[in-house]
């Protein structure tokens, strides 16, 4: 194998090694990106199956299917799998695939570390999911793992260890991305000519580097509190359970932005392509991302308004949280302004991008409502919050990932996906996701707490609607699987190099499918090839 690396073979999609060599030993950013994306899709379905259990139990009042403890395991695992297993690895996979292509680099800066970052993940998740089959069961204290409750779980050590592994993986991935973007850009690819997606990942990587270690510290303290007699969070020994929440949300709020900033980047690529018009306010878009990232460090206690914070703290965190709405608004307005005066077509990636803009904004609206502390005294820990974060995470992050998949799939596989079935997938998803989550606003406002397995009959009608939406949304994702598998293995229609008429950027200058090695010689970057090459604002 070592000798083959002289690669005088012609550029082709196939890699010359055997299966094990190619995938397990891979140091190629494209193959590792593919691995990340496959892993993410697998986790999406595993986490989705947990959600189906939750929605089935909540279909009507009365416990019909599972014991309450198992229900809590499902909510906890669903969140952990979706956040750390589905959304984050999907963005890392997209970054791996596209960042080198977009900045004209031959590969990631640290290819071997790249391999390690990925291969840690399956083990971390195998460890975490295995707890479901162990006596005593899996974690059931919520993904936030608040002590003292989380300390009652027998599987804490497993979860802490797997979170450490996921954290190490994310940190290595983030270091790799920063090192790549800062050091490996082709000559002429100035920072302020980079695609917005690359910018969003650069900033996200800094967030990861700052907060994943904090999470590691927090869960380590849980571990020592349970097994080594410390009292960080144990009031009996002079500790303070609220301190955990402060540390956790110092991680947690930037974490939610880790899951949305790359999505902002994706949407900022797709909308100009299908509007055939440069993005409106490129610099403002980049500054808005940076501004949101900065603010995300000083709003954490908005998750803790009910713990009895001092008045001054309530006020500070309320104002800081509301401030985030300003740069977020700027982004939304700029996307709309990009569409204004364009020449639009509505292929599947664009449909998902448009749905993202509308539905993410609805999630932002409920976020703004949640930021108003007296109102949050009512909303907090109800289904209103559940509706909020699913609008930003499912119709936000997940829709952006799907949009990106449709957008770049032809570049990855060399074939066009089936547009008809892509559109079917889109329309099913966008309708059912609203049937699923919109009624949850009403449930929360009417007083239904989150994380409960059973409820009063007053909540029955909207829960049933929500569950029906849930099952149909879940089923719709099988269409997605079908379209992707079809495109990868069975599609006949060849994709052009520049797959979309309005697409700009270096990734469209390489052949489709992107050959195993690209930009071994740095490309000559011509401004008119870039989406933002000439833009002076």
């Amino acid at each position: 194998m070592a000798h083959e690396a002289t690669h005088d073979q012609h550029d082709h999609h196939h890699a010359p090694q055997g299966f094990f060599q190619r995938w397990v030993m891979s140091t190629n950013h494209k193959d590792i990106g593919t691995l990340y994306l496959i892993f993410s899709l697998t986790m999406f379905f595993i986490g989705g199956s947990f959600a189906m259990v939750i929605r089935a139990e909540l279909f009507k009042p009365g416990l019909d299917l599972v014991q309450p403890y198992f229900f809590n395991e499902m909510t906890t695992m669903h969140a952990l799998v979706m956040i750390f297993g589905a959304i984050m690895p999907a963005f890392v996979g997209l970054g791996n695939w596209m960042i080198p292509l977009m900045i004209g680099a031959p590969d990631m800066a640290l290819p071997r570390m790249n391999n390690l970052s990925f291969w840690i993940l399956p083990f971390a998740f195998a460890l975490m999911l295995s707890t479901l089959f162990l006596p005593g069961g899996g974690p059931a204290g919520g993904w936030t793992m608040y002590p003292p409750l989380s300390l009652q779980s027998g599987s804490l050590a497993y979860v802490v260890f797997s979170i450490h592994l996921m954290g190490i993986s994310s940190i290595m991935g983030a270091i790799n991305i920063i090192a790549t973007i800062l050091n490996m850009r082709a000559p002429g690819m100035d920072l302020l000519k980079m695609p917005v997606f690359v910018w969003s990942w650069l900033i996200t990587a800094f967030l990861l580097i700052a907060v994943m270690p904090v999470l590691a510290g927090a869960v380590t303290m849980l571990l020592t509190d349970k097994y080594f007699g410390t009292s960080f969070f144990n009031p009996g020994g002079g500790g303070d359970p609220v301190l955990y929440q402060h540390v956790f949300w110092f991680f947690g709020h930037p974490e939610v932005y880790i899951m949305i900033l790359p999505a902002f980047g994706i949407i900022s690529e797709i909308v100009p392509t299908f509007a055939r018009k440069p993005i409106f306010g490129y610099r403002a878009m980049v500054y808005a991302i940076a501004c949101i990232a900065f603010l995300s460090f000083i709003v954490w206690a908005h998750h803790m308004f009910a713990v009895g914070l001092p008045l001054g703290a309530d006020i500070f965190f309320m104002y800081a949280t509301m401030l985030i709405a300003v740069p977020t608004g700027v982004k939304v307005f700029n996307w709309v302004a990009t569409m204004w005066g364009g020449s639009m077509t509505f292929e599947t990636p664009m449909l998902f991008a448009i749905a993202f803009i509308i539905l993410f904004t609805i999630g932002g609206f409920s976020g703004l409502m949640l930021a108003l502390v007296p109102a949050d005294f009512q909303y907090h820990d109800t289904y209103f919050v559940v509706a909020h974060f699913h609008y930003v995470l499912v119709t936000g992050a997940a829709f952006a990932i799907m949009a990106a998949t449709y957008y770049w799939l032809p570049k990855w596989t060399g074939h066009m996906y089936n547009e008809f079935w892509g559109k079917v997938h889109f329309w099913c998803s966008v309708v059912f996701v609203n049937v699923l989550f919109f009624p949850q606003h009403f449930l929360g406002l009417a007083g239904m707490p989150r994380r409960i397995p059973d409820y009063n009959v007053a909540f029955a009608n909207f829960n049933m609607i929500s569950s029906i939406g849930g099952f149909l949304f879940g089923a719709s994702q099988l269409i997605f699987l079908g379209v992707v598998v079809h495109c990868a293995f069975f599609a006949r229609k060849k994709a052009a190099d520049r797959v979309w008429e309005g697409a700009k950027g270096l990734e469209w200058t390489v052949p489709s499918p992107a050959p195993h090695h690209t930009f071994e010689v740095p490309p000559v970057v011509r401004d008119e090839e870039l989406a933002h090459g000439h833009v002076n604002d």
Binding site: T6, T27, L110, P111, M184, I209, A210, P213, L243, F250
Partner: protein, 44 residues
């Protein structure tokens, strides 16, 4: 292995920049890991 990594690798100059970036970032990671412990100890 070594030459396999070399495939698609940047030149020496890039490598130097990469090394410096990684060292700085690793220090940041360490500092942020210690942050919650320091905070808790200070609050006691």
């Amino acid at each position: 292995m070594a030459s396999q990594v070399a495939e698609g690798q940047p030149g020496q100059a890039h490598r130097h920049g990469v090394r410096r970036t990684v060292v700085v970032l690793a220090i940041v990671v360490g500092a942020f890991f210690l942050l919650p412990f320091v905070q808790i100890l200070l609050m006691k």
